[in-house]
Amino acid sequence: MAEHVVLFTGPMGAGKTAAIASLSDIDPVRTEAANTDRVTADKATTTVALDYGEITIGPDEKVRLYGIPGQTRFEFMWKVLMRRAVGMILLVNNDNPDPIGQMLYFIDYFHELYERGGAVVAISRSDVGLGPTREEYYSALAAARPGLSIPIFSVDARSPEQMKIALFSLILNIESRAAVPSRYEEPRQ
């Protein structure tokens, strides 16, 4: 069975735990602790090590879903979790104080995953507050990191259907890249 490891990244409160729970075929593994930092994100618990889930997307294809803890204090876990991943779903909550800055920060930090397989951006909580539009995310990405080809979706992280669209888009990208020789590869004689 072919297996992919996809990493869910993004800031605290973006919906990474919810996204993995909505996609996973198994009861997700969670490492949540009581959140004492209610200023950064007003929620009862926060992930402190990882989230883990699995989804089977075909007769012989399984995707392992890992989520990072969103706070930069847990950056050591980001490096650990990045090692085996081949792609990234970057969740950004649209009601974040600086959602575009957060998007660019995580794209830069996990750039290796974009290079290795691909990345998609999933904007969550668009129904709360007045954050940027999807077009503004695209414009900011094109201006700040020209040349990157990253689809951007608006999602409800709790919706399996919406998260599947983002995930399948990423998997297609990973597989198409794997099937086509790198543009940096010398053509065979």
Partner: protein
């Protein structure tokens, strides 16, 4: 809303005193940190870069408790990391959302430092319950 324990001056001060007492009864003691479940430092003795260590302690505790729960073998009592040069002992403060992590060299037995760490954890639990 109750004050988070790492912002409670009484808990921070008295936690530091109890960690210092652990240092005084274990000659192999190197350093220790008391952290909230979500990885904020409450108190520490010796060592450096406690902020990073506090986050790691939080992650390790969550993973250990997650494994114990997954295997249905009861709650995690303590975690021991044995290395060439020493031991890291980590345990939940009874009845609290706090974790104690202490580092020792190998000049004393694991049993001795584990026993001392458990005793300190219990004292910290009582201290928190009687704090202002």
């Amino acid at each position: 809303m109750t004050t988070a324990l790492h912002h409670n001056k009484d808990v921070v001060a008295r936690g530091g005193v109890l960690l210092t007492e652990l240092d005084s009864i274990c000659t192999s003691f190197l350093y220790a940190v008391l952290v909230t479940d979500d990885g904020f430092e409450v108190a520490s003795v010796s060592g450096s870069d406690h902020e990073r260590l506090a986050s790691m302690v939080s992650s390790l505790q969550a993973l250990a408790e997650g494994v114990a729960e997954e295997l249905k073998i009861g709650t995690s009592e303590y975690v021991v990391l044995a290395t060439e040069d020493g031991h890291v002992i980590q345990l939940r403060i009874p009845r609290q959302q706090l974790v104690l992590s202490a580092v020792f060299n190998k000049s004393e037995t694991l049993g001795k430092v584990l026993s001392a760490s458990k005793s300190t954890a219990e004292q910290i639990a009582v201290m928190v319950e009687t704090s202002k």
